[in-house]
């Protein structure tokens, strides 16, 4: 995450194709309609924790400042609650744009380093592609091992309570026919 308030931008920082490509993604169509009213930032429950507010992400995306946007924590902090999207007076699908930015950040390897949220997304993705189902406890343990192993100690009391109340499944849940799912995902890769 760069310090975006002091960093000066030049013509070479601009990728003119960036806004065009985001607008071509499902949900990105209305990007140019933004009037910078800030309703999205006001509605967002995560905005106080973000380095860029949603309004600024939209502005920087339109300006083509791709690195500023993709290296920001903001798309990853979006909890996908769709409050900005529902409230936007210009009907911009802000949440869907955040998703498009997350995917682009992963594709380009530009997401903030050592940040646990993209790590979780990728671990989840791989677990489901292989097994067809997600096992909460295994995912939490994998995430901790990849980012902060000591956090497992902190999680132990809650983990024990879940175990005691029969709400923690330790094994990996999987569908009966993972091959069928794999066939679907492979066929999509080819098309």
């Amino acid at each position: 995450m760069r310090n975006v308030t002091t960093h000066c931008r030049y013509a070479e920082d601009v990728n003119a194709a960036f806004p065009v490509e985001i607008m071509a993604k499902p949900g990105g169509e209305a990007l140019r309609d933004c009037i910078q009213c800030g309703t999205c930032s006001g509605a967002c429950p995560m905005a106080v924790h973000m380095d860029l507010t949603p309004r600024r992400v939209i502005a920087l995306t339109r300006a083509g400042l791709e690195r500023d946007v993709l290296e920001s924590a903001t798309p990853w902090l979006c909890a996908s609650c769709y409050e900005c999207q529902v409230r936007c007076p210009r009907e911009i699908k802000v949440t869907d744009i955040m998703y498009a930015l997350k995917r682009r950040a992963i594709e380009k390897g530009l997401y903030p380093k050592r940040f646990p949220i993209p790590v979780l997304a990728k671990a989840f993705y791989n677990m489901v592609a292989t097994n067809g189902r997600n096992s909460e406890s295994r995912l939490v343990i994998e995430l901790a091992l990849r980012t902060n192993p000591f956090s497992l100690l902190k999680m132990a009391p809650v983990g024990l309570k879940l175990l005691k109340t029969g709400r923690m499944v330790l094994g990996q849940d999987r569908i009966k026919d993972p091959k069928q799912l794999k066939a679907i995902l492979d066929a999509m890769e080819e098309s």
Binding site: K25, P26, P45, M46, H49, L77, A79, S80, C81, Y82, E83, Q85, V86, R87, T95, Y99, A100, K102, R103, I106, P116, I117, P118, L120, A121, K122, F124, Y125, V128, G132, R133, N134, S135, E136, S137, L139, V140, L143, S151, P157, V158, K161, L162, T165, G166, R167, M168, V169, D173, I175, K176, Q180, L181, A183, I184, L185, D186, A187, M188, S191
Partner: protein
């Protein structure tokens, strides 16, 4: 008997087990059948969509294709599953390029999605199909003394608002009132709990959920009703940590709306999985 194609999702065998138990008990009591979709797969939640959009839609579409073979409406109790399944339907209907890829993928597995599956949330079914009048006639143990904060969270009402207002929903309020509870005015009812951020950015998650509980308590609620397994966990499991972090007691029982409805129907707490909820310093009114 009306039968539904049941899509429990991954959470309902783990964190959300009491949701599964109480939903089955309540639907059974009302003569509504739940038949699990055979070999359903994970909906992909918010994570899959963050990595691959096409494949996220295909994951959901496999479930929809399997449900269509059952010729029944789909019931998805988890808010994330519910939204993902509906969102996938919208994506397939609105974006031919995605639809094309998804259809090819399903074809490779011998499946077809025709587009006529209907995805419902149990709250929608209880209020709009069963109806509040019919619910009231079944209430044998009205929830007297329960002051419920009705918490919808985000994804059952947004962005599509299929059965309730996306910003100021009312269905859960009305259902809880029909069960005999006093429903408190809860302005944060559709404010997000942060979802999976509790697992990745705990400090942020704890703060967000602290604010939700603090507001419910200041509105004199003595129980909070949820409709989503992740909201339930986030609000219930970190109350000790909130007390230590913010030096304020926001202890409040956090239960599924189906558990409360089951109690009002006179069903046994154990049938409703209530022994699986964490015991908070503030117990449920019925347990006092």
């Amino acid at each position: 008997m009306t039968a539904y194609a049941y899509y429990p999702g991954c959470s309902l065998s783990g964190l959300g087990k009491p949701y599964d138990e109480s939903l089955r008990a309540v639907f059974g009591h009302l003569g509504l059948g739940l038949e699990e979709i055979p070999d359903w797969n994970c909906c992909g939640a918010t994570s899959y969509m963050s990595v691959s959009e096409d494949k996220a839609v295909a994951l959901a579409a496999r479930n929809l294709a399997l449900a269509e073979q059952m010729n029944a409406q789909v019931v998805a109790p988890c808010a994330a599953c519910y939204l993902v399944l509906i969102k996938a339907q919208h994506m397939i209907a609105d974006y031919p390029a995605i639809a094309d890829k998804v259809h090819k993928g399903l074809q490779a597995a011998g499946l077809t999605y025709k587009g006529h599956a209907t995805v419902r949330h149990p709250l929608d079914i209880l209020v709009n199909d069963v109806g509040l009048d019919a619910i009231k006639t079944r209430v044998t143990a009205p929830l007297t003394g329960y002051r419920v904060a009705p918490y919808y969270g985000c994804q059952i009402v947004r962005p599509y608002g299929a059965f309730d207002d996306p910003l100021r929903p009312q269905t859960l309020d009305r259902l809880m009132a029909a069960a005999g509870a006093e429903v408190v005015d809860y302005p944060l009812k559709a404010h997000c709990c942060g979802g999976s951020l509790m697992g990745t950015m705990e400090d942020i998650g704890v703060r967000l959920n602290f604010l939700l509980l603090k507001e419910a308590k200041s509105r004199t609620a003595n129980v909070l009703a949820t409709v989503c397994p992740l909201c339930q966990y986030n609000l219930e499991a970190y109350q000790d940590k909130m007390r230590r972090t913010f030096h304020e007691n926001v202890d409040l029982p956090v239960v599924y709306f189906t558990q409360l409805l089951g109690l009002a129907f006179g069903l046994q707490p154990k049938t409703l999985g209530l022994q699986r909820n964490f015991v908070t310093a503030a117990p449920l009114p019925a347990m006092v």
